[in-house]
Symmetry: C2
Subunit: 355 residues, 2 copies
DNA sequence: CTGAAAGCGCTTACAG
DNA sequence: CTGAAAGCGCTTACAG
C-alpha cells in the first residue's frame, strides 16, 4: 500500500494525500476526511525512507552511552545506577514525545565512529550523549556534526572551545556544588572534622567538580584537606576495594567519608565491615545518586539525589528545541539535586584529636 | 556528499560506486581501491533512506518492552531485574552484530499500535518483543506482521495457533521446569515439607509455568499443595507485601516459600522481618532471576539464575537467521537456567506437624 | 567489467 | 484548493 493507491481510492492526487498526511492547512475538511477514511481503512503508513529522502525528519533520536565497564562485564549499563535510570527516562520521555529512540552503547573510544555514522547516514534528527570521560573523540564528533546534540556531564567551557560555529549543542550538568555542600555540611553538623573523599574518575567533569567542591567546602568550614583521605576511585566498585583496604592498613582513618557515587560508597561499606568496622559508628559514609541499591543496603545510604527523570525531560526538550530551530547555539543547564538522609552517617563518636 | 560526487571524483559511474559500497564481487581490485580511497578521503557514508528505499535493509532491530509498571513508576524498566539485563544484553549484542537498536517501551496495551507502526513504516528489519502478559494485542500484531519477530516468554502453542502462514517467528522461553525443580528439591533436601509459593502473574507464560512445575514437583515428592500457601503475586514488590501480611496474620505458615522472582522474594523477606520473623531460621525463601539485588540483600537470596546475556545472544542469532532467509517458520527455544545457593534457606528447624 | 536509465515512495515548489 | 512533474540519493536489472 502506497500513497498512490490511497490517492486513487480517494479520487485525489498523491499531492493531496501528502498534504493530508502532513496535516497541511490548505485542504478542505471534506477532502481531508475522504482521504483519512481510506487511510484508516487500509491502515496505511507512509514509508519512512521515502519521506526522509524527500526531506522530512526521521523522528528518531540517538541515545549514546559510553560504558565505564568493558564489554565483558555483565551489568555494565543497566546494572549501573547512573546509566540505567537515564536510559529508562530517555526512552520513555522520547517515546511519549513521539520520537523513536535508537540506543547505542560505546564500549571503547575506538567505537566512536559509530556515533558519527549514525548521524552521517541520516538515521537520526539529533543525539543525546552520556559519557563519563571528556575525550578528544567526543570533541571531534561534536566539532564535525551539524545535527543537534545534548551532552550530559561535560565541561561547558570545553564545549565552547572546540565546537564549530554552526553547532547546535546543549550541555547538561548536575548542581554538584549544592550536592557536595549538602553532604559536607551534614557531616560537619554531626561533629565530623576529619572528612575524606572517595573521588570519581578525574577525566569526567562531575568527578573533578565533586572533588573541587569538596575541597572548597572543607575550606569554608575551616577544615584541612588531608591527602591521605583523598581516595582514588573511578566510579566503579572494584577499584575502590583495594584503596579502602590500603586506608585501613594505614591505621589513619577519617571519621567520615564522602563518596562520589553510591556504588563506591557501598563498596567502601562492605570493605570496612569485612575488616570488622561498624558503619556508621566507626565511620560515617555518604553516597551520591540515590540509586535503588542505596535504599536496600544495610545501613542504607545517606546520599545526594539526582533527578534523572527531570533531567532527561529537560534534555529532550532542549534537544527538540534545537531540532526545530536551526539557529546555531550552545545551551547550558544545571540540574538541581536533592539530599536524602538515611542510616549511613551518625554523630562523630571519636575522641577528637587535634587536626 | 553523495555517491554521484564520489563517482565523479573517482572517474567512474554511480553504479560502480554502489557496487563497491555493497561489496559486490564484479569490481576489479584496482577500481575498488580507487573508489574506496575517495570514499575514505571524504568520509562518505551512503544515505540510509535512499538505500532502504532502493531495497536494502535498514539494519535496525526493534526492541519492544512491555512495562509491568505504569508510566508513573520511576524505575519501571531499568530498575527492573528482568527487563534491564535484557535491554543491556540486546543493545550490546545487537550493536556488536552491526545492528542499530531501536528501543521502545510500551506502557499500556493501547500503545501497541506503535509496534505495528514501527514495522509498517519500514523502520526495522525485525523485532524482539519482551512481554509479561499474553494478550490479544500481541497476537494480533504477530498475525499481521510479515517481518521476523522473536518473542520472549510466550506459550509456543499459543503462537502456533494465531499466526499467519508466512510468519517468521521465534519464541524463547526459560527452562522453568529445571529452575523450579532445583529450588523445590533443595528445600526438600533441607527437610521442608510445608512449602508455599509466591506466584507470578498468571497471564504470563512463565508465571503459569512456574506454578505448574511447582505443583508437579511437590507431587513428585509426595507433598501436598496447600492453597493457603499459594500466594498471589504479579512479579512486583508492591502487591506481595499485603499478601504476606495476610499470611502472617493467619498464623498458618509454611516453613519455606518459593518466589517466582527475586523482587517478590525480597519483598517477602522485608515483610516477614518487619513482623519480627527471622529469615531463614523461621522461614526459608528462594528467588528467581539472580538479580544484582539478590546478592546484596541480607540474607542474600538462594535463587535461580537466568542467563540473560546468552538468551539475548541466541535470540539475536535466531532473529538474524529469520531476517536472512524468507522461509516462513516458527522456531522455539528454551534457555537453560542455573541455581545459586546463598543465605536465604536453611534446614527446617520447626517441629514437623503432620501434613 | 561498466554505465545509462528506471525505479523505490514520498514531498514540494510551481502553475493553474 | 489541486494536480503534474521534478527531485530526494540510492540500487539494480539491462545492455553492451
Amino acid at each position: 500500500m502506497k500513497s498512490e493507491e490511497i490517492a486513487r481510492l480517494a479520487g485525489v492526487s498523491r499531492s493531496t494525500v501528502s498534504r493530508v498526511i502532513n496535516n497541511y492547512p490548505n485542504v478542505p475538511a471534506k477532502t481531508r476526511e475522504k482521504v483519512m477514511k481510506i487511510i484508516r481503512e487500509y491502515h496505511y503508513e507512509p514509508n519512512l525512507s521515502a519521506r526522509v529522502l524527500a526531506g522530512k525528519r526521521t523522528n528518531t533520536i540517538g541515545l549514546f552511552l559510553f560504558s565505564i565497564y568493558d564489554i565483558k562485564s555483565p551489568y555494565r549499563i543497566y546494572g549501573n545506577a547512573y546509566f540505567s535510570p537515564f536510559v529508562d527516562a530517555f526512552v520513555d520521555i522520547g517515546n511519549s514525545m513521539g520520537y523513536y529512540m535508537l540506543v547505542h552503547t560505546v564500549c571503547k573510544p575506538g567505537d566512536c565512529w559509530r556515533i558519527r555514522q549514525t548521524f552521517s547516514q541520516k538515521r537520526i534528527d539529533g543525539g543525546i550523549i552520556i559519557t563519563t570521560d571528556e575525550s578528544r573523540e567526543i570533541e571531534s564528533i561534536l566539532s564535525d556534526i551539524s545535527h543537534p546534540v545534548v551532552i550530559m556531564d561535560y565541561s561547558p567551557s570545553q564545549i565552547e572551545k572546540t565546537i564549530n560555529p554552526k553547532a547546535r549543542i546543549g550541555v547538561f550538568n548536575f548542581n554538584d556544588e549544592k550536592g557536595v555542600n549538602s553532604v559536607v555540611d551534614h557531616l560537619v553538623s554531626l561533629g565530623h572534622r576529619r572528612i575524606g573523599m572517595i573521588m570519581g574518575r578525574q577525566t569526567s567533569y562531575s568527578g573533578r567538580r565533586r572533588r573541587e567542591c569538596f575541597v572548597k567546602r572543607l575550606a569554608h568550614h575551616g577544615l584541612p584537606v588531608d591527602d591521605r583521605y583523598m581516595i582514588k576511585g573511578d566510579f566503579t566498585w572494584e577499584t575502590v576495594v583495594p584503596e579502602i583496604e590500603k586506608l585501613i592498613f594505614s591505621h589513619q582513618l577519617p571519621t567520615a567519608i564522602v563518596a562520589s557515587n553510591d556504588a563506591m560508597a557501598i563498596a567502601a561499606i562492605e570493605t570496612f565491615r569485612r575488616h570488622g568496622m561498624r558503619i556508621p559508628e566507626d565511620i560515617s559514609i555518604t553516597g551520591y545518586d540515590d540509586s535503588p541499591a542505596s535504599a536496600i543496603v544495610k545501613p542504607s545510604l545517606t546520599t545526594v539525589q539526582i533527578p534523572f527523570f527531570e533531567m532527561a525531560k529537560r534534555s529532550m526538550d532542549m534537544l527538540s528545541e534545537l531540532i526545530e530551530s536551526d539557529k546555531p547555539r550552545i545551551m547550558v543547564c544545571n540540574a538541581d539535586v536533592g539530599f536524602v538522609i538515611r542510616e549511613s552517617c551518625c554523630e562523630n563518636l571519636h575522641e577528637e584529636v587535634a587536626v
